[in-house]
Symmetry: C2
Subunit: 368 residues, 2 copies
């Protein structure tokens, strides 16, 4: 990438930190914008001209000495197109989705095979971070704690009692790394009452799925906890840069255990005392649905939020209007808090309060 020149690396990046960006997920609550063949991370959801994937890669440039994107084979070409500075070796194409642990462990194994054991981090391609410098500060602390052997996660300081995320319980300070704490437990999405209690106690963070650790530490835990998955990714990594990659993929990939990194590593290793957490208030946003999207895009002077539109948009007797996409004039009259998504394949008219139901519509239409 242009932003990660050798010179800029020397100035600000640690010498050996690999940033891994899993680019997957369908984003069905953003239908019909996000589609299986054009998922969320490929879209410019902030109207800045950059996709979430491009934003993610650019944000990590100051700390990363190298970048690796792991994506589905169907999206590899689009990823290449959006990130022309990445080489073929920097994009790992999965033949089929096998959940986050396989994706991250394969990246770690390939990176270790190429460069020896070193610290890497995993950061999903479809998240928004409004204060990237603050996140980089937290990642530098996480790298320090990871060098000492911990699996480190970035805990997002919570702003409200979110029921849509998992949470992380903070323990005692690590002592040897300023700003890092023991992560006592990962907890699943709570109900509202529990989430409110977490918020009140002040000892919980949102789990943004960001992990920083040494390749050998991760693969060591994996060898104990998910040995067949470990062996599989080691086999793939050994063949990856030679003539047997495809044969190895065909043989090994379908056998890999489908499991999330939270269940495979974060939860059991936290229970053993091996996970650390570094807090960050980096304004991290999981753009899970159109209501969240409406909250992060600035409205124009007339109060209307326009995203990726080229034609006139007019709202009469209507507040809280958001219109996404489309090259035809769109007029909204006498309906408040409505989101209109105008794509070539489908049209969505959504009341803001019903944003969570969009995935039901997507699946209903598929069944129709």
């Amino acid at each position: 990438m242009e932003s990660v020149t050798p010179d800029s690396r020397k100035a600000s990046a640690r010498p050996d930190f690999s940033a891994v960006v899993p680019a997957g997920g369908s984003g069905t609550r953003l239908w019909p914008l996000s589609l299986p063949d054009r998922p969320k991370f490929l879209h410019d959801l902030r109207g800045t001209g950059a996709s979430l994937l491009q934003d993610t890669v650019a944000r990590l440039a100051p700390v990363a000495s190298r970048m690796m994107v792991v994506t589905g084979v169907a999206h590899a070409a689009a990823v290449h197109e959006q990130l022309p500075a990445l080489g073929d070796d920097d994009i790992v194409a999965e033949p089929s989705p096998r959940d986050s642990m396989a994706a991250i462990a394969l990246a770690a194994a390939i990176l270790e095979h190429r460069h020896g054991a070193h610290v890497f981090g995993s950061f999903a391609a479809d998240q928004v971070v409004l204060r990237p410098d603050e996140l980089m500060r937290a990642i530098r602390i996480a790298i320090e704690a990871a060098e000492a052997g911990a699996v480190v996660t970035i805990g997002i300081e919570p702003l409200y009692p979110a029921t849509g995320f998992g949470w992380i319980l903070r323990g005692e300070p690590l002592g040897d790394v300023e700003g890092a704490f023991r992560a006592e437990a990962f907890v699943e999405k709570p109900d509202l009452e529990t989430a409110q209690a977490y918020l009140d106690e002040g000892r919980h963070y949102w789990n943004a799925g960001m992990f920083v650790m040494r390749t050998d530490v991760l693969l060591g835990h994996l060898a104990r906890l998910q040995p067949s998955l470990h062996d599989g990714v080691r086999t793939l990594a050994a063949a990856w840069d030679g003539p047997d990659r495809e044969a190895s993929l065909q043989k090994v990939w379908p056998t890999l255990t489908k499991i999330a990194i939270d269940h495979a590593i974060a939860e059991p290793v936290a229970a053993e005392g091996g996970v650390a957490v570094v807090a960050s208030n980096c304004d991290w946003i999981d753009v899970g649905d159109f209501a969240v999207l409406a909250s992060i895009v600035e409205p124009d002077a007339d109060g209307v939020i326009r995203l990726n539109r080229s034609a006139p948009t007019l709202a009469l007797d209507a507040s809280g209007t958001m219109v996404i996409g489309g090259d035809r004039p769109v007029v909204i009259i006498g309906v408040d808090d409505v989101t209109v998504v105008d794509t070539p394949g489908a049209l969505l008219v959504l009341g803001r309060a019903s944003a969570q139901r969009v995935k039901d519509a997507a699946s209903s239409l598929e069944g129709a």
Copy 2:
């Protein structure tokens, strides 16, 4: 037209009644469905497969021995296409709009020039009548009263205190024609209080703009009340079926007084005692806006009104949904009483209660 065969005429139609159908008006409150180059009367607004114009002509067939459509030159081809049974002589193309009196008087003058003085009626092309047989009953009475020399209007029995129509005040029975009454006055669109009083009194009808009269009676009144307009249409009619039509149109048409038949004839002749009214409860509907349209199209089993759609339409947590046009899937979630109009040129999302504001949107966009 196929429905007006010589045989069917003999069976049910009076021998000499011409039906004139003025097909004009832009219908801006039905934007973006109704457009200047494709106005309301050319659209199938009931989802029956027939346009309002085709409906109007078919409805009049049982009483009409001939049909004449008067329309703008820009729409003559579309009218021909929708009414293939009409001959060139049956469609009068106006070079420019000069209001209803010029259109109707020109038709009357041409008809009289061709066939001698006889009774004709004028019926707008963009209205809906759900009980056409009942209207035909009223028209037959109107023809009888017209033969005796009256200008006769069909008064629609009012269902609510409408402020969007003019009203007609009924006087004494004509005596010689059962079911016909003196029309004492035509009143402009009233305010709600006045409309309620009209409804309570039971002596007022809605003015649907339907008039039945002898060609010579109309042209006689016109000669007294609008002499230059009378002379103009007589000149045009004399030239119409010869080689000088175009020259005559170029010379005379731009000079014709722009005035509505209500002001030119109905109001002054009513004041003189020369207008009769025949009441009808034919379920006449002026499809003025999308709220009215929603009231006349049957919803499907899921409660959604679909009009001229070929793709799936899904409403979740949404009642009173109407979707018009479009060949893409449309999904409405969490918004009640919303109308979506999906056309190639523009997209409208409308709260039912704001139907009257649509014309503001159309004009705003034109100005943009």
